[in-house]
């Protein structure tokens, strides 16, 4: 890791600075469309902010955390210097340049199309070019993870690949393939329209391409968090990982069944047949399996830690857990949010139940609870755990860390639970203005106010998080011991090739993509009459 500390820190810092800025925008959005604030008068301001918030939180933050954490794992789990470090810096530079390229037109109000693009709306070409640069930068990371794993395998023939590397590489390959959908949409549909080469766009096809990316991107966000569950948490709380193989099984299942299921995002779209919607619904349901395996394995690992600390009984062992340890708090909060968010997700993926909440605030509440809650709280945990190893300085503001995690958890619950509820009442999403004086929606007003309170708590938590990290940069120098990942109860000595490599699962993932997406895409390309006029955003005033 010695050759890549600055590289990893650069990734984390850029991601977290972006996170801080986007968090403020998010809180402002909650406030601006709440009953506490008079109508903005210009919805474009709201959508401009939503675009910047979404682009930063969905593309920039998780990509940089996954990249930085991946490089960290190469150094500390494979214990080899990162091969291709110059390429890694080039990838980082692309992400940085891409972020700036995308944010400038957004800030100028020339690309208020939201991070999911929503064709036929077409924004300034530089916005899309910026997003493409971020993705291309991350593809360099995907390649580097595969190359470094291959180098290690060559030097350690037959040895089990460390679980952390196995997991993060599965995430990298998942991202490599799932980002292809949005890349096709951007390169062949949106950019030609944004550059003025075409004046129409097949919006239905574009939405299907984006759905290819849109669901598995969630699992790309999630895999660093799951990697931390398996490979950091048991060690950090003084336990053992219950099963290394269960982890591998979970990650390969994510690789196969999390990818070709995105059509559940377009359940209400008429251009996709009901049969394919059902097929995607079934495979979305299967994604619960690796999550259940993970919840079981990590709960068992936590129980081992409790019993090693003298915990006994059916439930009394919970009291023996190291609750003052920030990582213990993080995983507990993450699991609670994962439980509620996952239960909501089951409703989203059900073809029939989805109709009740489709395009309502329920959906926004759902992905904030899962991503902003369960996953991002683990990003905090990862940062707290690896920071001293990156900076060579102590990170010991434990009280602040606990306060930060508590406020993030409480803030996220207070924000998202009312958000879900107003969604059930029928409050639509992606609207800049709600007339709360209308008796039909007046009952929603107090719950929207409550969400704003949650958002303010989250801002406090975000400030605490950055404070902890900044203090870590200026703390006294220390020499941390070599970084360790969790040790499994039964450390694998030999593994079947299928659980020690990803080739088989990669092939199944691509095969299932062809089955689940092949016909709808070919059909929409071949069908005539799908093109609609492009709507240029921010063109003439």
């Amino acid at each position: 890791m010695s050759n890549s500390r600055a590289l990893i820190l650069a990734h984390f810092w850029l991601g977290f600075i972006g996170f801080g800025a986007a968090l403020l925008l998010g809180a402002w959005q909650m406030f601006a469309r709440s009953p506490m604030h008079a109508w903005l008068g210009d919805p474009e301001l709201y959508y401009r902010s939503v675009t910047a918030h979404g682009t930063t939180m969905a593309y920039v933050l998780p990509t940089l955390v996954a990249m930085g954490f991946g490089y960290f794992i190469v150094g500390s789990a494979l214990q080899q210097p990162l091969a291709g470090r110059h390429w890694a810096w080039a990838g980082f530079a692309l992400v940085l340049i891409g972020t700036i390229t995308a944010v400038v037109p957004v800030a100028l109000g020339r690309a208020s199309v939201l991070y999911t693009f929503y064709p036929p709306m077409i924004g300034n070409a530089f916005y899309y070019i910026g997003v493409v640069l971020v993705v291309v930068g991350s593809w360099i990371w995907v390649a580097l993870m595969a190359v470094n794993l291959r180098l290690w395998k060559r030097q350690n023939p037959g040895a089990p690949v460390p679980l952390a590397m196995f997991a993060i590489t599965a995430g990298a390959l998942l991202w490599g393939w799932t980002s292809v959908g949005a890349a096709l949409e951007l390169l062949f549909q949106i950019l030609p329209a944004a550059l003025g080469l075409t004046s129409t766009i097949n919006a239905g096809l574009a939405r299907v391409f984006f759905s290819w990316t849109l669901h598995a991107i969630v699992y790309f966000w999630l895999i660093p968090a799951y990697t931390a569950y398996y490979t950091i948490i048991p060690r950090a709380i003084g336990g053992r990982l219950f099963s290394d193989q269960m982890g591998r099984l979970s990650f390969v299942m994510f690789l196969v069944v999390s990818m070709p299921i995105g059509i559940h995002h377009v359940f209400e779209d008429p251009q996709v047949g009901a049969g394919f919607k059902f097929l995607h619904s079934v495979f979305t349901a299967l994604v619960t399996l690796p999550t259940f395996l993970t919840v079981f394995t990590i709960s068992a690992s936590v129980a081992i830690a409790a019993r090693l600390r003298g915990g006994t009984g059916m439930f009394r062992w919970l009291g023996a857990l190291p609750w003052r340890n920030p990582l213990m708090l993080a995983v507990a909060f993450s699991f609670i949010m994962l439980g509620f968010g996952g239960a909501g997700g089951l409703i989203n993926m059900s073809y029939q139940l989805n109709t009740t909440i489709h395009n309502t605030q329920w959906v926004t509440g759902h992905f904030h609870l899962i991503f902003g809650g369960a996953i991002v709280i683990m990003y905090f945990a990862i940062a707290y755990d690896v920071w001293p190893h990156l900076t060579g300085r102590a990170l010991d503001s434990f009280g602040l860390m606990r306060a930060q995690l508590w406020t993030w958890f409480i803030g996220m619950i207070v924000t998202t639970f009312p958000w879900h509820y107003v969604g059930i009442l029928g409050m639509p999403r992606r609207m800049a203005f709600y007339d709360y004086t209308d008796p039909q929606i007046a009952p929603e007003a107090p719950f929207v106010d409550l969400s704003v309170v949650g958002a303010l708590i989250l801002v406090v938590s975000g400030i605490l998080f950055l404070t902890v990290l900044v203090r870590g940069q200026f703390a006294p120098r220390v020499a941390p011991a070599a970084y360790r990942f969790s040790v499994a109860l039964h450390a694998p000595r030999s593994l079947p090739a299928a659980l020690n490599g990803l080739g088989l699962w990669l092939a199944l993932m691509i095969g299932l993509t062809v089955v689940n997406y092949g016909f709808p895409i070919v059909h929409l390309i071949a069908a005539r009459g799908g093109a609609v006029p492009a709507v240029i955003i921010g063109a003439i005033r």
Partner: protein
């Protein structure tokens, strides 16, 4: 690559591929055949038809079905981004000559106190579309229809270019518009009314929507009432009719007064 024997390695590949294929087959059988067939009132006529329908194939409308047409002519103008962009000086000049016949009502330079629309500086697409609609009868007008009857398509493009070229001048109305009424600023989301500025400038501009500032109050209110009663119906996909039908008479008057007094 691993400690496993080749025989052990083989078991994973066929087993995982088989499980996945079985899942696909069972799910597809349910989604493409079973569910479409048991759906009450489903229009499918057999297994193959069920599969094609579930796959999302688009069928042509059944033959011999009567197609319901509106009883009045609708606009035939196709709007595309860049339509009428970059008018030449010749086009503007020809437009200026042609516009001599418009001066009686619309003023010598596109501005007039005659309670007719002020055209100076108007978006060219808006002018071109209305001229085409007057000519086709999509927008009936006893005054305008005879005047545009003899114009060629190029004539109308030239007229649009000329009026778009003229500078917008401050309106004749000395009164300040004051704060915008609620219906202009926010629309009414629960009645599906967007803020006026979402199409007519200020917030955003949508093709063929004119700017409204300084237009005569009686003209604006009259057009809104015409949209509301359906006597004017050349709006694209009835956008303005849907808005105007939902507006109260007081809101129509307030919106017209606001825009008429706004520079």
């Amino acid at each position: 690559m691993s400690g496993g024997s080749p025989a052990r390695r083989d078991r994973w590949t066929p087993a995982s591929a088989t499980v996945l294929a079985a899942l696909v087959i069972v799910a597809a059988a349910a989604g493409f055949v079973w569910l479409p067939l048991i759906q009450p009132g489903a229009a499918v006529t057999g297994v193959w038809n069920a599969i094609c329908t579930a796959a999302g194939l688009i069928y042509a409308a059944p033959a011999n079905q009567p197609v319901i047409q509106p009883s009045y002519p609708v606009t035939q103008v196709e709007l595309a981004p860049g339509l009428l962009g970059g008018a030449s000086a010749e086009s503007i000049g020809r437009g200026a000559t042609l516009a001599l016949r418009c001066t009686m009502c619309h003023g010598a330079r596109g501005l007039s106190p005659a309670d007719t629309p002020n055209l100076a500086g108007e978006y060219p697409i808006a002018i071109y579309k209305e001229l085409r609609d007057f000519q086709s009868g999509a927008r009936p007008s006893a005054v305008m229809q005879p005047l545009v009857a003899g114009l060629s398509d190029q004539d109308m493009r030239d007229l649009a270019a000329y009026y778009a070229y003229l500078p917008r001048l401050p309106p004749y109305h000395p009164v300040s518009a004051g704060a915008p009424p609620e219906i202009v600023l926010s629309g009414a989301p629960m009645r599906n009314i967007a803020p006026c500025g979402a199409c007519h400038g200020e917030l955003a501009h949508k093709a063929a929507a004119p700017w409204l500032e300084g237009e005569p109050e009686s003209y604006l209110a009259g057009q809104l009432r015409a949209f509301a009663t359906g006597t004017r119906h050349n709006d694209i996909e009835e956008q303005m009719q849907n808005v105007a039908r939902q507006m109260t008479p007081a809101e129509i008057q307030a919106a017209a007064a606001y825009y008429a007094n706004r520079e």
